[in-house]
Symmetry: C3
Subunit: 308 residues, 3 copies
Amino acid sequence: MYFKDLHILSMKDFSKEMIDHILETAEKLEPIAVRKERSGMLAGKVLGVLFFEPSTRTRMSFETAMIRLGGEVLSMGSVDASSISKGETLADTIRVVQSYADAIILRHPKEGAARMASEFSQVPVINAGDGAGHHPTQTLLDLYTIKRESKLEGVKIALAGDMKYGRTVHSLCYALAHYGADITLVSPDELRMPYEIIKDLEARGVNVRQADSIDEAITEVDVLYVTRIQKERFPDPAEYLRVASSLQITPELLENAKSHLKIMHPLPRVNEIDPLVDSTSHACYFKQAFYGVPIRMALLALVMGGME
Amino acid sequence: MYFKDLHILSMKDFSKEMIDHILETAEKLEPIAVRKERSGMLAGKVLGVLFFEPSTRTRMSFETAMIRLGGEVLSMGSVDASSISKGETLADTIRVVQSYADAIILRHPKEGAARMASEFSQVPVINAGDGAGHHPTQTLLDLYTIKRESKLEGVKIALAGDMKYGRTVHSLCYALAHYGADITLVSPDELRMPYEIIKDLEARGVNVRQADSIDEAITEVDVLYVTRIQKERFPDPAEYLRVASSLQITPELLENAKSHLKIMHPLPRVNEIDPLVDSTSHACYFKQAFYGVPIRMALLALVMGGME
Amino acid sequence: MYFKDLHILSMKDFSKEMIDHILETAEKLEPIAVRKERSGMLAGKVLGVLFFEPSTRTRMSFETAMIRLGGEVLSMGSVDASSISKGETLADTIRVVQSYADAIILRHPKEGAARMASEFSQVPVINAGDGAGHHPTQTLLDLYTIKRESKLEGVKIALAGDMKYGRTVHSLCYALAHYGADITLVSPDELRMPYEIIKDLEARGVNVRQADSIDEAITEVDVLYVTRIQKERFPDPAEYLRVASSLQITPELLENAKSHLKIMHPLPRVNEIDPLVDSTSHACYFKQAFYGVPIRMALLALVMGGME
């Protein structure tokens, strides 16, 4: 498997073998992430961090990953404090930064920004989210969490929340197709998963089912993946509140769950999960946030040639 | 003395022995802070820096301390560029960052934030100021400055400015009680030290006196500690100006001071000290700002197990 | 040549010998900048980065330079998130930071800020631009680009754009006077180079000529240096557009150029250079941005004693 100098732009670019290799590499690096071991694998390397919109968790986990591998971080800082306000194009910014850094992490509000950036960079570009586009490192850390905390092959997973616009959910479903997953969708009628995606998943051999409530879905599944529902999707605030509260995860709701059920959430959460759930054995979302570190270590190590 | 994994939240948690140990550790580390020696004591460690309000001096001295000990800094960045704007709770932020970092520095506008944060963190949390609450590292660097530039045991100190709301001043007075200090307070009537605190200090054996003017206080003391008076405390701007100028430190005022008098100020200063004082041997406030580095090195080294 | 502890404030402070020494040092360090070699030359050193106005490219190239030499970066962060909002003077800020860092990079909107800062610092201050004042590291990287990509001695160079207010252009012309340059100026009538500067350059033996258009100038020169024209210089937006488009560099315009012509631009560019020019062998502006790294490595290494 040869990842050196590869851009990480979209999950669609990866075969199952490639995904497995990333997950296995993350597993090898996890002792460094949990600080049981130290590494100088990327010593002397510089990671260019270009975030054109804030995403604290993603940025900090990338920076932690780089630091834990012995590398250095070069940050553009916040956007309004940058040349962007002078009207520079993304292409020009990338052409300069790629001459300073050994790899670039890009977060950008515009769909397609990462792929465009990759065309102007001689060093690998890692997409850390491009608007309505892709966010492959989120999907990879989701898969890694399922692998480490539950089981990936044949996992029974329920996805709750916004299935229509949630790009991470779509990306995760396609990735799970590689592993023969059994998927239950729970969403308000307004936010159902697009029909074409469901058809497409079924064509890939995935069992996809709709459930009317989390209550109904929760008895059977190994993993419950909760996502945020954005207020802006609802013209009527009352309707938003009704939908959001109907999907809230509470300890009562979990009484019928399997004992090994794991609850995931990409964070930050607002009201989707009652804090009382945090202390149950089901809560897995903080662990999930942590798993962003070994997964991003794996990607950084692979594209900068620290590992093969 | 065992500081490893200890949260540093409030001076009230520390005995005299603990304070002495921190001051002695700082003294041992000072050659590194003045760049006469180098250290890799915290190599491989990551310091999570969470500042929910700006405090450039405090943040920079913590970061310098970490870097000088060979460690790395992971910064949340400014608040408006963070997930906080998406409504995440401090508890959730802490739970994630504590899985990335080996220790956390927290600055937060809400009183009690640091103690709350410590309950969600498996790595030590150091309080870098929580609103009207505590700011223990400021008190420790004040003590260290007195120790290094004057004498701590039995010091005669005058404190001038806002004695009512100034949390650093209260905290310093309590700490000085351990060292048999003799304290003179100079403040406008509106900003006198609360009676209960004075009673409390006297019960701890401190000599506390009120003086009407700095002029009156300055002849006897070893240290003059000046603090800022906040304009917002005065409904009438003219009254503010009158009070502020009556407390301004000028070269003339210093003519009656002891030759070894040291003037301290937590900085930033506005008009409290005439710049003409800077070049006198009394000026000690820039040195004091520097002493933030060895003190914070000591705390970082102790809580992360670099020293015992 | 002894640069250790020297402040880098203005090109006017440097003799030809000093400039040559900086350029030669940059050339020695370039293999590290292009990541063919690694260095720990400034290991244990801390660079204080104080940017009182944003300048992403300049800041990132300084930070890259420091990191590539094994040193560490201590950043003040953005200004509105700093003590400056509490009213602290630049002098006080410098006095504190110089006790934390081994050198200071200062960017400030006020002319003369860097020289003032140097008076309060025991560690070297490097001016990274002070408003209408100086920006010596930009001039040095311009010279270095000419040396590496064209020839410095006797270079025939055309400068196009704002010759009146463009401080980098004036500074570059004076520096080129050391190398017997032949200079052609192309600018709108409103933005001609001040007569005293032209006289001054001629007194230093420089051949200075005015051309009416880039078309006229381009056939003879080795280097074409393009600068931005600021909209704000023109009361009439239509007049700005007319002037700006008359100076735009297009592939057609380059048909009459010498084959070895190099086009430079300090970046960020807006519309001054057609992106179609980027893929021609004439385009040199991204290389120029990269050369900021070896030049700044040279300055950091020299003033902090990493090299002599």
